[in-house]
Symmetry: C2
Subunit: 230 residues, 2 copies
DNA sequence: CGCGTCTTTGACGTCTCTCAACAGGAGTGG
DNA sequence: CCACTCCTGTTGAGAGACGTCAAAGACGCG
């Protein structure tokens, strides 16, 4: 099942992390709209891209690196609503302000678009509006998958499901390095870092995966799949 | 319980009531597109509108009544992903099949649109595509709010937040009758019916609300608001 | 009135959280 | 090269919130 990574939002864009980064002028985002050329921009690890409540002036597309978007309560509880990898578009809002925050997981390159320009293009070109509609629909489906995960799945199911999703997004060969900390994982899965850590140890003991250090993981996918059957 | 299987007999209904189309909220859906006239259709309480995995041939707009959409796991665990009230559009998918099920909470009237027709209209008219984009974005925002609720809020916060949301969507005067069962509430909030019931009793004991029978509720909104501050 | 469904309440179990200590790496400076 | 610190991750013990199981009350409907 899906754990809510936002996937590349336009099917004609090459899928996965191995997207060849086209030069800023070669971006196929909003193809056919030469006026919608994104501006390249770089962010350092843990750098904030925008904060909740700020004016939503720009829209962002990941070129390389990774981004998380999240919401926070006043007492510090945090819920990550999505991880965004190369090819993903994020930061769109209906209102004038962002309803969540966005930060770079690692050193990250983005393309930035002026929201007003994108909206104007959508108003005039059905093709662009349909792309945006499709993007929103896809994000919605991912959010609803996450809803099921958070509302009805155990800690073990959440972690197993998460690992399989990461594997898929990062190449799907069963071996990868987690690009985020335990805290990010916990705040995405609605758990604590201790529960995430314990669950990983338990999965390792059961032979569902092998670990090298904290981040590098090899999955036994058949084993994991049995744990999250729906 | 539902015995009647809803099989939208299109031509029959269309013949019966070819009616001008306008939502009760006054919004005209797909204005300026006379070819996008929805067909009225009625569903009984608890009747299935469509099921997970079925072909997504139609899109639906609520005229009166209420609808729930949900996902289920093979062992019966259920997560309601949304309640849809008059004016809401639901049932749109990116793929060819529905990723969740939809049922009528109470006797419900809908407008049914052929998905292909809507998509064709969106492809030609930026105005229509923008409407669809806006509705999808609104649903997305609600889904992300639910994500935070499920991932990081206590049972009391979930129930209190839910009650305020229902109040708002049902007029916002603080007194209303819940249109759904405890099971629906529980499956929406990621809790059990016992926990929902106990939490309601507790809120009542604390003076945060008053109850008449099982469904009718008067909120002390100032009190409730303190419980869900973010 | 009788029956089924929905809701409430109680007793108990358990999964996850909280609090706390410790281990392993990476970076820094002596 | 080693000592030190910071940061992330792991593990343990105990607590607490919510779930499970069970029974009884409330409500609606034929």
């Amino acid at each position: 099942m899906t754990t809510g990574f936002s996937e590349p939002n336009f099917s004609h864009v090459a899928a996965g992390h191995a997207v060849p980064v086209q030069g800023p002028l070669g971006s196929v985002l909003f193809a056919g709209c030469p006026d919608l050329i994104g501006t390249p921009f770089s962010y350092a690890r843990e750098e904030e891209i925008y904060g909740e409540g700020e004016d939503a002036e720009f829209v962002y597309k990941v070129v390389s690196g990774a981004v998380r978007t999240h919401k926070v309560l006043s007492d510090g509880r945090r819920q990550i609503t999505g991880f965004h990898l190369p090819g993903d578009l994020f930061g769109f809002e209906q209102d004038e302000t962002h309803r969540h925050s966005a930060e770079a997981l690692s050193d990250t390159k983005l393309l930035i678009f002026r929201r007003r320009q994108v909206e104007r293009a959508a108003n005039h070109r059905a093709e662009v509006a349909c792309q945006l509609w499709g993007m929103a629909t896809k994000s919605l489906r991912l959010a609803q998958d996450l809803t099921l995960l958070l509302g009805r799945r155990s800690a073990q199911e959440r972690v197993a499901s998460f690992l399989m999703e990461v594997d898929e997004r990062l190449g799907g060969n069963g071996t990868f390095t987690l690009p985020m900390t335990r805290r990010d994982i916990a705040d995405y899965l609605g758990l604590t870092i201790e529960t995430v850590s314990r669950t990983l140890s338990q999965l390792s003991d059961e032979g569902a995966l092998q670990r090298v250090g904290g981040r590098q993981i090899s999955l036994r996918r058949a084993h994991l799949r049995r744990l999250v059957e729906d």
